[in-house]
C-alpha cells in the first residue's frame, strides 16, 4: 500500500526576533489512507510546526513533503486545517455560511450543492439547531464542532488537526474525542492529529509518532487500538510505555 502523505527527511527552521530555531530535524513518516495518525511529543518538539509545514504554511529547509505524489508547496483545500483557537470561524458568517463559504470558495461548488453538503455535515456534528447562529453565540465546544464540520465537508485528502480540543474543558474534550471517533467510523477519513496529551493520543490515534524535543526528532512509531493495550513483551500499558520513552531521562534521574 502506498503512502497518502509522505514526509521524508524534513528539517524545519523558523526565525524569531534574534534566533534561528530548528524546530524539527530530519523527520520521516508516512500516513496511509484512513490512518488516524497522531504526532505526539512534549512542547518544543516541533509537532505544530510540522503540521503547519504539511499544511503548506512553511517550506522545509531540507527534505520533502508529498501528498498523493505531489509535492506540497502552498496551503490548499486538499489539506483542511482545524485549529485550536476559538477565532478560527469567520465571525461575520453564520455556522451554515462558514461551512458553505469553505465549499464555494475552496472547492468551487455551486451554492445549492454547497448548502446541501454543509447542512449534512452540520447535522453530523449535531448542530442543526444552530445552523443560523453566529459563532459568537456558540460555546467553545460548539465552535470546535463547526470547525470539524467545515473541515470534513471539504472532504480533503487529509484533515489536519492542531490540538483542536486543547482549549476545551475536560468533560467537553472527552465528548469531542468520542464524537471524532464516531465520525471516523462513519466516513473513514484520514486525519493527522497533533497533541501533547498521551491519553488523547492513545484514544484517538491508530498510529502514534513520538517526537523528542529541541529539535524534534522521531523517537518511535507505535500502533494503538484506542484501548491502552498491554504490550506482550514488557507487560506495560501503552500510555506507560510512551511515558517512559518520552521522559526516560527524567525517570532515571528520579531513580538516582
Amino acid at each position: 500500500m502506498t503512502a497518502l502523505l509522505d514526509v521524508r527527511g524534513v528539517t524545519l527552521q523558523y526565525k524569531t526576533r534574534d534566533h534561528l530555531v530548528t524546530a524539527t530535524y530530519r523527520v520521516d513518516f508516512e500516513v496511509l489512507q484512513s490512518d488516524r495518525f497522531v504526532l505526539l511529543g512534549p512542547s518544543g518538539c516541533g509537532k505544530s510546526t510540522l503540521l503547519k509545514a504539511v499544511g503548506g504554511y512553511m517550506t522545509p529547509v531540507e527534505g520533502t513533503i508529498t501528498l498523493k505524489g505531489r509535492e506540497v508547496t502552498k496551503p490548499g483545500p486538499d489539506r483542511m486545517m482545524v485549529f485550536q483557537e476559538f477565532d478560527q470561524l469567520l465571525p461575520w458568517k453564520t455556522v451554515k455560511q462558514n461551512v458553505m463559504f469553505a465549499l464555494t470558495s475552496g472547492a468551487r461548488m455551486s451554492t445549492r450543492a454547497a448548502e446541501e453538503k454543509a447542512l449534512h455535515y452540520i447535522d453530523k456534528v449535531n448542530l442543526t439547531k444552530f445552523a443560523d447562529s453566529y459563532p459568537h453565540m456558540l460555546s467553545g465546544g460548539m465552535k470546535a464542532r463547526v470547525a470539524i464540520a467545515r473541515g470534513m465537508a471539504m472532504e480533503p485528502d487529509i484533515l489536519l488537526m492542531d490540538e483542536p480540543f486543547a482549549a476545551l474543558d475536560a468533560l467537553t474534550r472527552r465528548k469531542m474525542q468520542d464524537e471524532l471517533l464516531q465520525l471516523w467510523d462513519d466516513t473513514k477519513f484520514t486525519v493527522l492529529f497533533v497533541t501533547h496529551s498521551i491519553p488523547e493520543a492513545v484514544k484517538i490515534g491508530s498510529r502514534i509518532l513520538l517526537l523528542s524535543p529541541h529539535p524534534g526528532q522521531v523517537k518511535a512509531e507505535l500502533n494503538s487500538n484506542g484501548q491502552d493495550k498491554i504490550d506482550s513483551a514488557t507487560g506495560m500499558a501503552l500510555t506507560e510505555k510512551i511515558q517512559r520513552m518520552l521522559f526516560a531521562d527524567e525517570v532515571e534521574q528520579v531513580h538516582d
Binding site: Y57, P75, G106
Partner: protein
Amino acid sequence: MTERPEFVRELATDNAFGVVQKPLTTFERIWNQGYVRKAAILVVLALVWELYARWVNNELVFPTFLATVDAFWDGIRTGGILQRAGHSIRILLQGYAIGLLIAAIFTGLAISTRFGQDLLETLTSMFNPLPAIALLPLALIWFGLGTGSLIFVLVHSVLWAVALNTHSGFKSVSNTLRMVGKNYGLSGLGYVTKILIPAAFPSILTGLKIGWAFAWRTLIAAELVFGVSSGSGGLGWFIFEKKNQLEIPSVFAGLFCVIIIGLLVENLIFRTIEARTVRRWGMQT
C-alpha cells in the same frame, strides 16, 4: 475534631420554583432603547439652553432655544438653509468619496508590499497631524477660489484618518483567520475582500466615522473663510453672512443645522451599518 457529615439532597422539581424569569417592566424596556436615552439627553440640553438664554436675556449674545428653532424654521421656509446645507453636503460627499478612493489605493499598496507599508506609515505620520484647514491658503493658490480648493482640503482631512484606521485594522487581523483564508486557497483580491476587509471591518468603520467627522468640520471651517463658490455658498458661508448682519438667532440656526446633520448621519447611517455588521457578528458589543 469530629468529621463533618456528608449529605445528598433531592432537587426541587420544575413546578416548585417561583419566578425564574420575569419580563422587564414597560419602563425598563423603553429605557433600554439607546435612542430613548439619547433623546432624553437632548431634551435636557435644550431645556438648559432655554433657561440659561432667558436668564442672560440678550439675543445678540445668546438667543434662546425657541428663538433659534424659530430662526431655523424661518431659514428653511425662506432663507434657503436646506439649499445651503444641500450645497455643503454635495461638496462634502465628493471630497469624502475621493478621499476614500485614495485611502483604499494606499492601504491596498500597504498590505501587498513592504515598501507600500513604509510609504503609508511615513505619509500618515507626516500629514495626519497637519490640520487640513492649514492647507487652505495653498489650495486657494493652486486651485483658485472655488470647489476645487474645498475638495482638496476635504480629501486631505479624510484620507489619512481613514487610511490609518484601515491599515491598523488589517494589521490586527488574527493569524488564525489569515491561515483559514489561505487554507481555502484564497489569494490576491479574493483574500482581501473575503477575509481581510470583513475581519478588519470594526476598524474600517471607525475610520469612516472619524473621516466623516473630520470632513464635516473642515468643510464648515473652510466655508467660513470663503464660501462664495459658483454663486451660492454652503452652510459655513450662511453662518458667516448672518453674523455680519448681526442676525444671531440665524447664526445659531446655522450651527443647529450642522449639529442636526451630524446627529442624523451618526445615528441613522453609521448606527444602522454597525447594527447590521459588527454588532450582529459579535465583534463589538
